[in-house]
């Protein structure tokens, strides 16, 4: 069983870190994972994409061809990758940053307020953790504890509490969306 995730955003939104945490969470959970990314030469403001493949078996081809999950925090990112999803895939967008009503190939189309939630916590920088919490709840293939462990090893300890809060709020958003 192999599940492919694609996260798209602008550079600077922490999407690659989110991908790293997501992949490491899968490893913590005893699964295999490959994470790759692509970004332009600029570290901020350009297009950024993180891809994670999670599987029980060894992963040969390491790239995402058709995503099971497309998570979009930028309009150009969404527009570019909207068609490259599996039939019946789950699409998750930030409702304030991406304008899209539905996707003909999507089995589920979920709009969530990641940025707004982070802003409410006073730190836009944790948008990615909100998103990650939601994806954790919606996809439900990595245990929440395993993912939180990965959060801990990847964010500075003085911001840990904030990040965990963001993650939990996102998780709650995702849980509700799933229902």
């Amino acid at each position: 069983m192999k599940t492919e995730f694609r996260f798209v955003a602008f550079g600077g939104q922490g999407m690659i870190l989110a991908g790293v945490i997501f992949g490491e969470g899968a490893i913590n959970d005893g699964k295999n994972a490959v994470q790759s990314q692509s970004y332009g030469p600029e570290s901020r403001g350009g297009a950024a994409r993180a891809e994670v493949i999670i599987a029980d078996e060894a992963i040969d081809y390491p790239m995402v061809l058709e995503a099971d999950y497309l998570v979009a925090l930028s309009q150009p990112g969404y527009d570019k990758h909207a068609a490259e999803i599996k039939q019946g895939a789950t699409v998750i967008i930030d409702e304030d940053l991406v304008t899209a009503e539905n996707n003909p190939r999507a089995g589920a189309f979920i709009r969530l307020p990641f940025t707004k939630t982070a802003d409410a916590l006073g730190q836009r920088i944790v948008t990615n953790l909100v998103m990650l919490g939601s994806v954790c709840a919606i996809a439900d293939i990595i245990k929440k504890d395993a993912l939180l462990e990965a959060v801990k090893s990847n964010v500075p300890s003085k911001f840990l509490e904030l990040n965990v809060t963001a993650f939990n709020q996102g998780y709650e958003l995702g849980r509700q969306a799933r229902q």
């Binding site: 600077g12 332009g40 030469p41 600029e42 570290s43 901020r44 403001g45 350009g46």
Partner: protein
């Protein structure tokens, strides 16, 4: 509301704006000052060649400034520019690149071009870090700063590049910061007009890859610091080395007349050709 268009958009490659510098990056301000300087000098970009290397600030002319542009390999823009200038002395050749490019990997070309006193204007954007590759130590990084490749401590002192270039023989040398935009613009005009090697070190901010390492998180904090730390060169006379250690000395370091290389070279060639013509055919 009518379509907004900046009055100097003709000087930039508008089709690829907005540029890709990070929020608050000093490179944008340098581009702005440079465009204003070129307009102020009344120079047609069609008579300019801008040469740059590899690094964020190399993007200032390449691709954003709309003249002939030569985007070269890392560290070598001055060498490339030397070839351009020798063969087209009528064109104004300008190098804009970063501290790593010009003073690090390309340090040898810098001192030799200054020694030759070739008529180039080199605007070195000094953000004290390798920004494009993510924040590694540069030859201009101050002692004691932790970077991604000096995570424990930087134990190397920083280069004083402007002073080095002055010693090497340049005609015009100045240092400004991205806060001092009006004198910077004026200085760029002087540098462009100067016959000979002119060099401006522009102390600039990199909030994303340098600022977070020294506790300055935004461009605003950087500019405040530049404003506070800057000291005009004419005020440094009575100051001790210790007093100056943490300051940014701004202003014109030198402005002098020295024989210019391409002029000398072409005059020599003319003399040789003329001498040959006077010789009787062998």
């Amino acid at each position: 509301m009518e379509e907004y268009r900046h009055r100097l958009m003709d000087y930039v490659r508008e089709e690829i704006m907005p540029h890709r510098f990070c929020t608050g990056c000093g490179c944008g301000t340098v581009l702005n000052a440079f465009v204003n300087a070129v307009e102020g000098v009344g120079l047609s970009p069609a008579k300019m060649v801008c040469v740059s290397g590899i690094g964020c600030s190399s993007w200032i002319p390449s691709p954003y400034f709309r003249s002939d542009t030569l985007h070269t390999t890392h560290g070598r823009p001055i060498a490339f520019a030397t070839g351009v200038k020798i063969m087209r002395p009528d064109l104004t050749v300008i190098v804009i690149a970063g501290d790593g490019d010009v003073a690090g990997i390309g340090g040898n070309h810098l001192i030799h071009a200054a020694r030759r006193n070739i008529d180039l204007s080199v605007f070195m954007v000094n953000n004290m870090i390798y920004g494009m590759t993510g924040g590694q130590v540069a030859p201009t990084t101050p002692y004691g700063v932790k970077t991604s490749t000096t995570p424990h401590n930087n134990v190397e002192p920083a280069f004083k590049v402007a002073e080095l270039v002055m010693t090497a023989g340049a005609s015009y040398v100045a240092r400004w910061t991205t806060y001092h935009v009006f004198p910077l613009m004026e200085s760029m005009q002087n540098a462009i007009r100067k016959r000979g090697f002119s060099f401006i070190e522009i102390v600039s901010q990199c909030p994303d890859n340098y600022g977070r390492r020294i506790g300055l998180r935004t461009a605003v904090e950087f500019l405040h610091q530049f404003k506070e730390k800057a000291v005009r060169i004419d005020k440094t006379a009575g100051m001790s080395e210790a007093e100056l250690a943490d300051r940014i000395i701004i202003g014109k370091l030198c402005d002098r007349e020295r024989p210019e290389f391409t002029a000398e070279l072409h005059a020599l060639t003319r003399r040789i050709v003329a001498a040959l013509k006077q010789e009787q055919p062998a």
